[in-house]
């Protein structure tokens, strides 16, 4: 009886919760928009996210012209932004193990493509731009899961989410700059082509390790 009356009482007051009550104090304390913190989290996730970084290394490994770098990175950014925003807004909670396993495979795919594997072993080369876009979609689902783990509240959801997304792009530009500088130094040293094969094999190994690690996590969870 008490429980029932409590339920009814409180349910009614909740229905009116949009309007007033003690929300203000709570908003100050726990929710609302916080642009810079979410931007920071987005950027941090990208800069410290080795799976995204390995994929980016694979993508720009053989890109020499800035125009191409911008094109491919933009495709990747568009891809992951679409699913990041869509995933959070639709409340999709994609299994993070599965997404991270696919992200691991994206690293393998890109390195395999870099080695000309599609041409020589399969005899068919899928569109490289399309592949980056599609894998961008999967990386975005991974980002969405990370953002949802931060216990987003409904208040300021969109602003916080966009802040996170902007942070991701800033982090990506930062990480890319460092990768590009490193690649250029390496290319100038003359040993680039000598070790390009091994470097992409390393990417393939790392991608498979990520894949196996996440797949195992999925199986035992």
């Amino acid at each position: 009886m008490i429980a029932l009356s409590l339920c009814i009482l409180f349910h009614d007051s909740v229905l009116a919760h949009n309007v007033s009550r003690d929300d203000q104090g709570f908003l100050l304390e726990n929710t609302g928009t916080s642009i810079l913190p979410y931007m920071y989290l987005g950027a941090k996730h990208m800069v410290t996210g080795y799976d995204h970084l390995l994929f980016l290394v694979g993508v720009i490994f053989f890109l020499y012209r800035l125009k191409d770098v911008v094109l491919y990175v933009t495709l990747f950014a568009v891809g992951h932004s679409v699913t990041l925003l869509f995933g959070v807004l639709a409340g999709l909670h994609v299994n993070p193990y599965i997404v991270d396993a696919i992200i691991g495979l994206s690293v393998v795919y890109k390195a395999f493509e870099n080695l000309g594997g599609f041409k020589s072993l399969i005899g068919f080369q899928p569109d490289t731009r399309l592949a980056v876009l599609v894998f961008g979609f999967f990386h975005g689902f991974g980002l969405a899961t990370k953002l949802q783990d931060l216990q987003l509240s409904e208040d300021g959801l969109i602003t916080n989410m966009i802040s996170f997304n902007v942070g991701v792009e800033l982090g990506q530009i930062l990480a890319l700059s460092i990768i590009l500088i490193g690649l250029n130094v390496w290319r100038a040293s003359g040993s680039f082509f000598q070790y390009a094969f091994v470097a992409n094999l390393f990417l393939i190994s790392a991608g498979f390790i990520l894949f196996g690690y996440q797949l195992t996590g999925y199986i035992i969870s």
């Binding site: 429980a3 029932l4 339920c7 349910h11 726990n30 890109l63 191409d68 490289t128 196996g212 690690y213």
Partner: protein
């Protein structure tokens, strides 16, 4: 491959060397996974090498989070309500450089003959679902608690109902909309104390509730009461 510049060129490896190399790469991945990563991350150690290297210790703690201690006999609590004496004062003479003993206010400590109970509950809340979890506590007993949702917000009312009362009454301790809360309660009366949760997010959520104390009962308020 994406447009190598014309003056420099990467010679793609031959079919054979590509197949061999990728095979080696996969073998290396599998080896690292099985010998190092799986033992360290999940305590999965088919080779036994992870144990030898001490890697499995990294992930062993994870399994021991859920601990439920057996029911304990809650002893009656002596609550002597006396007039509160001003603290940090005594009749004793103050000797510089020496510690002097202060009188202990009543209710400062509470002794039990048994270990306290800790329970961790995972409470599923469907969209718009509401329910109550309560603990039965004697008066003046403390209850330490933490709860958090996996995502999203709940409306909650932390309240209690005395069992030794002829009327239907309740006391609300704290209410609001949050995704997590931590604290303690000193039971103002003997009765059932706990949380009403209502899922106000647009999706099903899980509330993880951890409580510690000398409660005699903990659980979901039954259907017959609602």
């Amino acid at each position: 491959m994406s447009k190598p510049s014309p003056d420099r060129n990467f010679e793609p490896p031959s079919r054979k060397s590509l197949i061999v190399s990728i095979g080696i790469a996969m073998l290396v991945s599998a080896l690292i996974l099985v010998t190092v990563i799986l033992p360290a991350e999940y305590s999965i150690d088919p080779t036994g090498l992870g144990n030898v290297l001490g890697l499995t210790a990294l992930s062993e703690d994870r399994a021991t989070t859920l601990q439920v201690v057996e029911d304990v006999n809650t002893e009656t609590v002596n609550t002597v309500v006396t007039e509160t004496e001003p603290m940090l004062e005594s009749e004793e003479e103050i000797i510089p450089g020496e510690y002097r003993k202060l009188p202990t206010p009543p209710g400062t400590t509470l002794s039990h003959g048994t270990i306290y109970r800790t329970e961790i509950l995972e409470i599923s809340l469907g969209f718009d679902e509401e329910l109550e979890y309560k603990a039965t506590l004697a008066q003046d007993e403390p209850l330490l608690y933490s709860w958090e949702t996996d995502k999203g917000m709940v409306y909650y009312d932390f309240h209690g109902e005395p069992t030794e009362s002829d009327e239907l009454v309740f006391m609300s301790y704290e209410e609001g909309e949050k995704n997590t809360a931590n604290g303690y309660l000193l039971a103002p009366f003997t009765g059932n104390h706990g949380w009403y949760f209502l899922n106000i997010s647009d999706y099903p959520i899980t509330v993880k509730l951890t409580v510690s104390g000398y409660f005699t009962w903990l659980g979901k308020i039954g259907e017959e009461q609602e």
